[in-house]
Amino acid sequence: MSTFLLDAQNLGISFGGLKAVQALTLQIPPNALHGLIGPNGAGKTTAFNLLTGVYKPQTGSMTLNAQNLMGLPPHLIAKAGLSRTFQNIRLFGELSVLDNVMLASHCRGHHSIVATLFRSPTFLAQEQAMRRRAMHLLDLFALAPAAHAQAKSLPYGDQRRLEICRALATEPRVLLLDEPAAGLNPSEKQALAKLIQTVKAQFNLAVLLIEHDMSLVMQVCEQITVLDHGCTIAHGTPSQIQSDPRVREAYLGEPTPTPAGT
C-alpha cells in the first residue's frame, strides 16, 4: 500500500490520435498542497478530467486511499473523496447559493423516495444536517449573507469562492482546484491563498491546484508538477521547479541547453 493519498500512475488519454495527456504520474500524500502547472494547452484541465472521471483514462492506474478509481463514473469518484472546481465556473445558476452547497453533500446521504414523500423523521433530520453543514461552510467563506440569492447573481469573485465551498461540501479527501485565482485582483488572490491554506488545515485534506499565477503557486504549494504537451516534464519543490531548465524552456521556448551549457 502506498503512502500516498492520491496515487495516479501513467494516466493517459488521446482524442483521435492526439495524445492529450500521456503518462501523467501524480502522487499526493495526505494533507499536501500540490501544484500542477504548465503552459496553455499542456493538458492540465484534461488531467483533472481524467482524475475526476469526466474522461475515462485509457492507460495507467489511479487509487485514492488505496481504493481503485480507474474507470469509475464521476459521481462515484466524488463519493470516494475527490472533488473539484471548474476553470470556467459551473455553478447551478438558477439555484440558491445554499442549495448549491447542500446539493454537494448529496453523495453522503441516503435519499429514498418514500421517505421524501412522507417526510420521515430520518429524512427531516438529514435535510437539517445538510442545511446546517452548508450554512457552516458558507459562513466560513463569508457567503452566508447571500445564502438565498441565486448563484448566478453573485459577483464573480464570490462565484469562484462558492465553487470551492461547494466542492468542500462533498467532504473530499483531495480537493482539485482548477485556476481558482483566474480573474481575481491581487488582494483577492492573497485572500484566496490564505483561504486555501485555512481550508486545507481545517478540513484535513490534500489540495491539487492548477494555477497560472506563478507567484501564488510558488507561495502556497509544497510540491509542483509541470506538464507540457501532455507529458510530465518536471516535478519538485517550488525552488527546484524555478531553476529547472526544462520548465523555462516549456514556458519561454528557450532551446534545451546542452549538459555543459548554462
Binding site: 459551473r90 445558476g93 446539493l103 454537494a104 448529496h106 446521504g109 459562513d139 438565498h148
Partner: protein, 371 residues
Amino acid sequence: MPSALDATTNAQLRRPNLPLITLPWLACALLGLAMLMLGRFLGSYQETLMQQVGIFAIAAVSLNIVNGLAGQFSMGHAGFMAVGAYVAAATTYYGSLLHFNTAELQPGLFNFGHVLMLIGLLAGALVAAALGYLVGLPSLRLRGDYLAIVTLGFGEIVRVLLQQTSPQVNGKDPAEIAAFTDAPLRTLARIPLNGALGFEGVPAYATNLWIWTFVGITCLAAYRIKESSSGRAFLSIREDEIAARAMGINLTKYKVRAFVLAAFFAGIAGGLLAHAGVTTSPIDAGFQRSFEIIIVVVLGGLGSISGAVLAAIVFVLLPQVLHPIKDYRLVIFALLLISMMLLRPKGLFGVREIWNILPRRAAHTKPGATP
C-alpha cells in the same frame, strides 16, 4: 454578520420541523370535498369543466417533474397518460363485469366500484411508471432534442399499438358478459381494448372529490420532491450535468427517477380521465395531447408546481370564458408559447412558486431575511 447568519440558520432549521406529517394528506381530501361541493353548487357543466381542470393539473404537475425540475424534455407524456387510462379503464370495466355482472355505475358514496377504480388507478400508475423506467433509460445517452424525439416516438408507438387492440366485451349484451365471465382470462388475453374506436362505457366514478383529492396528493408529492435532496439533484442535472456528476449526483439514477415519478402521476391522471365519463381513445396518446400539457407546463413555469396548476386552470377555462376565441384556442396558446420563450424564457413563475415570489424579492434586497 454573525447575527444575520444566526437569523437565517435558525429560521431555516425551524422550517421543516412539522411533526404532523399526516395533516397535509388530510388537506388533500378536504380539497377534494370542497371541489365536489363547489361543482355541485355551480352545476353539471361547470362540474365537468372542473374535472378537466383537475386532470390537466395532475398531468401538468407530473410532466413538470421531468421537464421542469430535471430538465429532461419529454414529449410523450400523453403516452404515459394513455397507458394509465387504459389499464385503469380495463380494470374497472372488466372488474365490474365480473363482480356486478354489469358495467353500470353503482350508486353510493363508496362501494366496490370505487375500490376497483382505486386499484385501477394504482395499476395504471405502476404500469406507466414501469414504462417511464424504460423510456428514462435512453435519456442517459440522449440529450435535449434527441430525447424529445424519442419520447415523442414513444407516445406515437403507444397510440399505434392501442389502435391494434381487439374489440371490447359489450357490457350491454348479456350473452357477451356471460361468455366473458365464464372464461375471463381467455378474453383478456386478446387485449380487448376496442382498438381505434376507443374504450367505452367505463363507469364514471371519478367525481371532483376523487380528482381534486388526487390533485392535492400530486401537488403535495411534487412539492415535497422539489424541496428535498432529490429535487435539488433534479435541478442540478437541469442546470449543468457535468457539474452535477462532479458533485456526486448519479445521473442515471436521477434521470430515470424523474421519468418514473412523472410517468406514475401521469398514469393517475390518465386513470382519472378514463373514469370521468369520456371514451378513452388511442388519439389521447398522441402528440397533440402531449403538446397541450407542454404548453401548460411552459406557461406556468418550468419547475413551478403552483404555476402549472394555475396554467392548467387558465388553459381549460380561458376558451370557455372567451367564447368567440374558441376556434383560435391553440393558435393563441401557440403564440403565447412563442412570446413566452422570447420574453420570459423560464415561464410565468420560473422555478419558483406563486407564494414565494414576493418574499424572495425581500430576501434579495435584505440578505439574511427568511424566505
